[in-house]
Subunit: 356 residues, 2 copies
């Protein structure tokens, strides 16, 4: 075991948070998440302590992404209800849009979800996209770790927009659902290639509007799924059964390949939700029985470890070395054109390497 | 003057690129951009050498952003034509969507722009969003620096999507245009707050479709622009003339405040383009005469210097210290739960601080 970072919060308070988490105290959960989200002193200690409790495969992290107006919030709310009916504990991380200038988040859609938020088996947390570039996916994953360690069975990670940051966030989930609406048809050709590849499940929501079937066909053509009876697509295509040994029934036992699914829903009326829940379960079973769950977990942990190293190094450079002062002193020269940002970077690096 | 990083490419080749740039050689330009985009050895040397040639205020960097399908490419092409008719040299940086998994870019829309790309006064470059989180805005800005140093009068930076990364890219421009279509009305309430704040000009493209006027009103309400004659919004609101001394006529000389403009275009027919060009010029003049151009430039340079320092530190840590080996050795423990990513980060930081 290597040394963990020193604790500025004091052992008592952090230990109280950890004890509270172990007891299932919701107040401790909210406090732990705030620590992690805001990277307060000691947050890494909390995450390090929780690390051994997670990755057991019993929690399913589900990413829900798609363009604004696709009805992701309503769909998420319906999934929460469906899981609650089965007695599962559900957490929602809603990654909300934020201004890079003001730091404020638009929380409009969240209000609707308050109806389910009074249920103690449901935990809803909105996260703002901070100015810190590239950090949001890591922070989201860390908050999900806290929720998993606390014992949630399903963690729904809902993002707004289809930009690179949102994709990075969605990619932290085990199953990613892309939610579209019939009107998305016009834009489907220009959808980010990454979005199509990242999603294992496609949902055409508001499918009682015109154009749903056309969009389904377009998606299927893009994905290279053979055409046929619309309902055929609700069942995943099974490859030849090589392995077996799945945990929860035939679909999982025989699934050695996963073919993307296109489902239709009318989330506002609850239509198509049970099929979506079933498809999500099948995808998780497929991941588990094929060994891809563990493979994916290891890949994510490797990426996370690198991200955590980068963050620790960055904090050290700006908080504990002369970098900040040096950059501040050089800015006038940079603006005047007599030094470039690259000259300044070389100077900072030189000092940091020499332990200043 | 501080030391610049050592040159691995050899002085001759880098000097040849710099000489070529100084002579206005387009082949040298393409090579310099490739160096910078791919962060090949010596790219920082090229950027450092060009640094003193830029920021003179004669080049206008214009960001063009908006949802997929809004017609940004067509609008960009029309702007290129309009600037060429005035004899201005125009560069386009098209920041294209990329899969985080395959690294491939969707270049469909670019093909149309080939009609203008045969003109030697036009330079078009597509940039892919790489896996490197947070780096795209910096790289885009660096490519724009090369183009500015080469002597382009207008640099159009077109992004796809309205995610955080795209916003960061758009924010590197001096003027940001948000392109919407009448159908965007449904989603306007859920548009990222950051998008509305980042844009100085709003364009409702395809405004011959139903809903354009309604969308304009919605935007104006969101922006808090008082209602009135639609054409009134084509002229920026001028605050009380305090300063004066603008460079290009009355609008610039008297503009001490800028009120967001909402313009309508039908880019495919060239409608509204001359008004957009005029509004862009007025915004640049306003920035210059109000001192905000210099203020903004300094703020960007400070942010850039920090980003360049972070990149240099990251490269040093992963390429020249034991970090990579150490992380690789620890991954099995991390997956087994016996060490956390935070333990590994603390260990790496400890080694880096001690110069290993």
């Amino acid at each position: 075991m290597t040394a963990t970072p020193p604790l500025s919060l004091g052992h008592m308070r952090l230990d109280a948070v950890l004890d509270g988490l172990a007891r299932g105290d919701t107040a401790a959960l909210a406090r732990a998440i705030s620590l992690v989200e805001n990277q307060r002193d000691g947050f890494e200690r909390v995450l390090a302590a929780l690390h051994r409790k997670i990755g057991k495969g019993s929690t399913h992290r589900i990413g829900i992404t798609g363009p604004p107006g696709a009805g992701k919030s309503t769909l998420t709310e319906q999934l929460v209800r469906a899981y609650r009916e089965r007695g599962l504990k559900v957490a929602v991380i809603a990654v909300d849009p934020t201004s890079p200038f003001t730091g404020g988040a638009l929380l409009g859609d969240r209000i609707r979800m308050e109806s389910v938020s009074l249920d103690p088996g449901v935990f809803i947390r909105s996260m703002a996209t901070r100015g810190a570039q590239g950090g949001l996916a890591t922070t989201t994953e860390e908050v999900a770790d806290v929720l998993e360690a606390f014992g949630f069975d399903r963690i729904l990670i809902e993002t707004v927009g289809v930009g690179q940051t949102e994709l990075d966030v969605a990619a932290t989930a085990e199953t990613t659902v892309l939610v579209l609406v019939p009107e998305s048809g016009d834009g489907i050709q220009t959808l980010k290639a990454g979005v199509m590849e990242i999603a294992e499940l496609f949902v055409i929501n508001k499918s009682d509007r015109p154009g749903a079937e056309k969009l389904r066909q377009e998606i299927e053509v893009m994905l290279g799924i053979r055409k046929g009876n619309a309902f055929a697509h609700i069942t995943p295509h099974h490859g030849a059964a090589k392995g077996g040994g799945g945990r929860r029934g035939e679909a999982a036992a025989t699934a050695n390949s996963w073919e993307h699914l296109v489902l239709t829903t009318v989330a506002s009326k609850g239509e198509g939700i049970s099929q979506l829940v079933a498809a999500l379960d099948r995808h998780h079973d497929y991941l588990a029985s094929s060994g891809k769950l563990e493979e994916r977990r290891k890949r994510r942990l490797a990426a996370r470890t690198r991200a955590v190293v980068n963050r620790a190094i960055r904090q050290w450079v700006w908080d504990e070395t002369e970098a900040e002062d040096l950059v501040a002193q050089r800015l006038d020269d940079v603006a005047a054109g007599t030094r470039s940002p690259y000259d300044v970077a070389a100077e900072v690096l030189d000092k940091v390497r020499n332990g200043k």
